[in-house]
Symmetry: C2
Subunit: 392 residues, 2 copies
């Protein structure tokens, strides 16, 4: 086996979760997933497709009607005065989940030895994928400031040179909640046009945004890009439609890239299942019945959790503008993996350790606040408080 692959670290989040195996008294907030099943009308679309015999291969790039529906939705979200072209269906590739979309982007764009810049802390999959493709990875860390994580734009621009093949950025960010501003996206887009650098933008949390905006979304590179920019945007049905288990996502590509992406999908998964794609079609057709409710509830969860955490003595935490995580620094507990394991063992509380997302996030903890019952979050905070009092 490749030494390169053997050296890939296992998931530190899973390491914490494994510490709870056999226990059913742990309040788990470690994974990036809520506890609400997929809405029945979405599931029934998959059921109907299955029972009608849609159990064959389909197009590599996805069902034409789903590509069209996604294109319309992305045009609704991201057609602006600057990006005035509609987003056409031939720029859409349907993928087997958001992470599959990211891996396909990595295969398409990253040569062995290529220089890749990633903004961290970030979901570890985004830095593992360039590693698998043999990239030379350069991480630029956000800086924690009063509980929030902020971008030093000059540092990032210095890192992106004419030798940088790809910039990987996830905003709204998992785990920090950091979000790129419109101005920052414009600066990055213009800079990467000059350096010839591709931008892979993981924007799967764009709809889980709690500020007031025209389109209900966080700022997106698509709001400012042309169809020919070196920009690949990754999206997913998982979070906004409560469809994590369906493994369905999509890519928005420059038109010229679609044919090659179809080839790559052929060589990776052939296609997403038709019945899964039918579920995606149903979700988009009635998006108004799902996403706004999900976002309103997540906002309540966020505020419930953050308001309960903030009074804890010494805690550093900012209210995230987007995403579904509270990311906080706990004073006096510098080893976040050990802390997370102790919280499981000694308090029955399951959180993700900050070091899973970057070395700079050592001492931080991630709390997924997507919970049908917000009282679970308060129970969790009480467990944290009790543990902190006992471990002084």
């Amino acid at each position: 086996m490749r030494a390169h692959i053997q050296s890939l670290p296992g998931s530190k989040i899973r390491e914490v979760a494994n510490a709870a195996l056999g226990r059913n008294d742990v309040l788990a907030f470690w994974f990036g997933e809520g506890d609400e099943v997929t809405p029945a009308f979405i599931t029934e679309a998959a059921v109907q497709s299955l029972r009608s015999g849609e159990t064959f291969y389909t197009h590599n790039l996805g069902l034409p009607e789903l590509r069209t529906a996604i294109a319309l939705e992305m045009t609704r979200r991201h057609r602006t005065a600057v990006a005035s072209d509609p987003i056409n269906a031939d720029r859409i590739a349907v993928t087997s989940g958001g992470v599959n979309a990211l891996m396909l982007a990595a295969q398409a764009l990253i040569d062995p030895g290529a220089r890749v810049v990633a903004v961290t802390p970030v979901w570890p999959n985004l830095t593992a994928q360039p590693w698998i493709m043999g990239a030379q990875l350069h991480c630029v860390s956000l800086t924690p400031t009063a509980g929030a994580w902020e971008l030093d734009m000059d540092q990032l621009l210095d890192a992106i040179t004419g030798q940088t093949q790809v910039l990987i950025v996830n905003a709204p960010n998992n785990p920090t909640g950091w979000t790129l501003s419109v101005d920052e996206q414009r600066i990055l887009l213009e800079h990467c046009r000059r350096t010839g650098t591709w931008i892979v933008a993981d924007e799967v949390y764009e709809s889980l945004y709690y500020e007031s905006t025209v389109n209900g979304c966080a700022p997106s590179f698509l709001d400012q890009a042309t169809p020919d920019d070196r920009l690949v945007v990754v999206q997913s049905f998982s979070k906004s439609f409560l469809m994590t288990g369906y493994r369905l996502g999509w890519l928005v590509l420059p038109t010229a890239m679609s044919a090659s992406m179809g080839n790559l999908i052929e060589f990776n998964t052939s296609c997403a299942s038709v019945f899964t794609q039918r579920a995606g079609l149903a979700a988009l057709a009635r998006a108004d019945e799902v996403t706004p409710r999900v976002v309103a509830h997540l906002k309540l969860c966020r505020d419930t959790l953050v308001d309960a955490l903030l009074p804890i003595d010494g805690i550093e935490l900012a209210r995230p503008r987007g995403g579904m995580y509270a990311f906080f620094h706990l004073p006096g507990h510098p080893d976040s993996l050990q802390t997370a394991k102790r919280l499981v063992a000694e308090a029955g509380l399951g959180l993700a350790p900050g070091e899973a997302f970057s070395p700079q996030a050592q001492g931080w903890l991630r709390w997924c606040f997507s919970s049908q019952d917000p009282a679970r979050l308060l129970d969790g905070v009480e467990r944290l408080r009790g543990w902190l009092a006992r471990s002084l």
Copy 2:
């Protein structure tokens, strides 16, 4: 985009199929897929899982109960006097289809610049994947002999040196129907032990085998390997259970590789959908109701087609021992892509061009004989005969 990826050729099979767009009078035998929907009891297992709310992430390596069921099935098939250990569940990884299993194997085993040997003609995905990973690919061609394709073992052994990281071999073979013998597998296994070469064995057609055997399967490397051999076997639910559209497969790995494979699955697709895995469990639980019937029918289809083709003047064709393809040489028609397109346009017959599988198969055509109604195959042969008569 990587020049490397842009240079990946599009599917020549799809190029032929595209030539038929807008026509509904074409008898299509180009894809490796039958025309029978998945058995209802399998589909209903997926339906029940969906409706019971199994719409969340699951283990990277698959549901423990599915890994166990697969391990039992693989032990039943491949435990022999030589390979006397049972195949344990910790050696099984559930994947999003057979092609996904192959790509995961490529990521795990192929370093940039590594020397990889592949036996051709072969399904083009098997040679595209090492290319994507930046391998230096060396193809060893089978030799056509009276319509059959045969392996020159000395030539293959010469190609596999101490510098060869991976050998990729698909037997029973798509497209030729060529099958490795027990002795040939032993020789290759022993040779690769000496050179330190990994064997990636695509054995997805092992159950579609028409000779009489103890286990109902074609010879498998697993019949002779130890759990520690550098052997990765790729399997799929697609063909033996009529489940192409489910995108569900598996890998049999050396035990020491499983943890890293779990990481790679996390970074590629996270997991296969739980409801899809439930369908796989149902399929394995009642395999006796599906696979034997499928194989008996395919044998009838094979014989129907081969017996109808053989009398055609000058045709070179051998009756395949395994798989679901008749692969034949048509005299006087050296350009198989052009021939396949002409057959679509002028005869309403859809076949796959040999050159899609290797340059050596130029002038050959692949006919997938998986057809619910064998009379369709005879209709196709009549169209071929008529076209040949007209194009003399």
